[in-house]
Symmetry: C2
Subunit: 450 residues, 2 copies
């Protein structure tokens, strides 16, 4: 009968059997010490020649007695720091070959490509594990937050029949000879569902064939999407986004303190109500602070995002700030123009620690207006007729928001590269393995440099 390592603390003086990975081995004369690791924790085991030959990452089953350690050998870094297991019997469950690098070095000073080329080993490092623990808490807290507000979780389609807003940066699929594509966003599906379910959310993959390799882009990401109907105003949507993000940050703080400590970070601090300003106000503030005149720009540049975060931090002691009311024409056809000044819309971004975290807004719900926008934005209505059908048979006033799980993980843990926040990151040059270079014709090269 196997005992989990964390439960051995209750077994002093008893014989137990534990299983796990050999985390490290140390010899002192005839005595061999090793740390054993399972999903619940680490324990020190000690034995004589029985342990000879065990190596890091071997997987073993050991039976033995749990003894108290002398106080001078207490190790308060592990939950089993006051005990050790004296091995009577050991069984090798799997042998590891020699490791290509020290996989338990504290700071993991190994280049990202090497970590990705050796994914099975990098996953075993406590800092890499911590990233995905935090990501799991983020995703599950997103679900908990919205479920508590009556949102229904749905599974959004991956294969889609058409790309309404042009075919740039979309992956093509051969669908029994028909053209088909990988979804870039569940936007149209979640809106459609609002016409029946009122409040929905999804955790789904989205895809972007971005022909560039940066520290902030992946071709396949996990999108956290929410959409709600029968709303009063765009502020109701923004407030739901605020509630959701704050819930997530609180849960990460509660459930991942150990992981945050490993990265020497804390979740962003903010105020009871996250500051919220319009784009043009933000640009005026940036102009006054820096002299950089961005007041006619359609959006904030990366420099602007950093500056407005500095301002929010200084003025409100908040690392998060909402910016709203972007030029209507620069955003998708379904974004709701502001009643007071239709040149600007009721969309918003949440900026955190100098970068965009989340985007959302109120959407158009009137059938005639959406048809007019479809025309004005130059979209072929045939590519979205299932979506337009929802408006034909009455769509409630609605809005929603979306953000990427990898991006928010990266921001909370202050990671240098978004690939670190994806279990199996995909980019232009890698799908698990580095892709073998292929000869490109001129057209492809142009695209690459685009």
């Amino acid at each position: 009968m196997r005992t989990l390592i964390k439960d051995t603390v209750n077994e002093t003086g008893q014989s137990v059997t534990v299983r796990g990975w050999v985390n490290s081995v140390r010899s002192y004369g005839k005595l061999i010490f090793a740390d054993l690791r399972d999903r619940s924790g680490l324990i020190q085991i000690v034995g004589d020649e029985k342990l000879k030959g065990i190596k890091e990452e071997d997987i073993v089953e050991v039976t033995g007695k749990i003894n108290s350690r002398l106080e001078k050998y207490f190790n308060d870094k592990i939950i089993t720091g006051k005990i050790e297991l004296e091995v009577n019997n050991i069984k090798i469950l799997a042998k590891s070959q020699e490791l290509p690098f020290d996989i338990h070095q504290p700071e993991l000073n190994i280049s990202l490509p090497v970590l990705l080329d050796n994914r099975t080993l990098s996953f075993r490092h406590s800092k890499v594990k911590a990233i995905f623990k935090v990501q799991e808490v983020i995703i599950n807290s997103f679900r908990e937050a919205l479920r508590a507000k009556d949102f229904m979780e749905f599974q959004s389609p991956t294969i889609i029949p058409a790309v309404p807003e042009g075919g740039a940066e979309v992956f093509k699929v051969d669908y029994f000879g028909h053209p088909a594509f990988l979804s870039q966003s569940p936007q149209l599906y979640k809106s459609l569902l609002v016409s029946a379910f009122e409040r929905v959310f999804s955790v789904n993959k989205i895809f972007r064939a971005e022909p560039s390799v940066t520290t902030r882009h992946l071709t396949e990401v996990v999108s956290l999407d929410a959409e709600m109907g029968l709303i009063d105003s765009w502020e109701e949507v923004r407030d739901m986004a605020e509630y959701t993000v704050k819930y997530i940050l609180d849960q990460v703080e509660i459930k991942c303190q150990k992981e945050l400590d490993l990265f020497k970070v804390s979740v962003p601090h903010t105020t009871d109500t996250i500051p919220s300003i319009k784009l043009r106000e933000a640009q005026q503030i940036i102009f006054e602070r820096t002299g950089r005149d961005c007041r006619q720009e359609k959006d904030l540049s990366p420099d602007d995002e950093r500056e407005i975060c500095k301002w929010a931090e200084e003025k409100y002691n908040s690392e998060l700030v909402f910016v709203s009311h972007f030029p209507t024409k620069s955003r998708p056809f379904y974004t709701y123009p502001d009643d007071e000044n239709p040149e600007f819309n009721q969309g918003f971004d949440l900026i955190g620690r100098g970068v965009e975290w989340l985007t959302g807004g109120r959407r158009i719900n009137d059938y005639d207006t959406i048809l007019a926008h479809v025309k004005e934005w130059g979209i072929d209505p045939k590519t979205i007729d299932l979506y337009l059908q929802a408006f034909k048979y009455a769509m409630p006033p609605l809005g929603g928001f979306a953000f990427g799980a990898e991006r928010i993980t990266m921001q909370i843990l202050n990671l240098a590269n978004i690939r670190e926040a994806s279990l199996f990151p995909r980019d232009m040059e890698r799908i698990d393995k580095r892709l073998v270079k292929i000869k490109r014709n001129k057209k492809d090269n142009d695209k690459k440099n685009h």
Copy 2:
């Protein structure tokens, strides 16, 4: 301030504002009655000429007084059956065009293609809504069950670099000029992750380019996958699958009684321990019961699955039965051959109500054995080197299981067609819309008839 319809029951004598869809309208002389629907329930509203012109599926905001109904008008089918709302003011939030069919007929006697062509309307029907409520409970209960057993949720990749077991029935993606594919299963990823996280599960899309149109196949499905390491035996994996399925069924029974009643079904009954027999035993039983000699077959046929369920029901009063130990060569290369008789493996299927519900088993964890199987099964090791790497650096004894969310939804609710259990079903002939017929060359036709 909007009040949810379910909360109006506490507001008798008070003025409230509710918002929702007009579910139905009835005129009696000057009085107009309508049922209003929001995400929380239905309420009867009553008014005079103010309500004139409202039609089914219009979306309105009404303000008025909550009155008690006379006892003879009580309606115990809705939570607000003892009250009604007397309208003082009505605001139209969105008008619906004329509906193409009666979308609230109780039994929904409308052909599936028409329901799919009008997805926005079919979602508004209580029976269609019920399907996706049940599916949400299934998926979330799967997560709850495994989280309670220390499994970590992960997001499995969709785009994969190669298809180890041959390219049949796989969708191709153009990945910046490189060949790539849509994942048919997270099997290799979840095994790899076991080498670091010990226990993992995922809720992810898988894809199968099945060139046939049946009531049981979709090209895009939601796969519920689990995998666990440091196991004792294949029975430990089977027992985890049993626990998970039973937890899901219990939760559906607790949380979806109304939905089950709508479909006049109950969740399958079973015994404390689900009966479990080997394939050859099952075939002997079927032979003895029917005279049909299937004793040398590699798997159970649909008829066999129905027969073995009959047997389990008669002998054990269980609608579920495990069948294990399939011919090693007929299953994937990673399945674990039984120690006593390596011709058969330690894989298992869960059969329920006459069809396969779930498949699982112990997997090979030894590096040399997996390499030998890779060779024997004719697989190019280069296509799975990230996976093989996990064995190189020690893989614990492991196993797992998987099942489709749509299939189990279909089985619990006794749906005739799996498309009913998918929000946006994809098959050879449909991605949202029916695909426009394309001219096929002979090769394609051969494939179609395959």
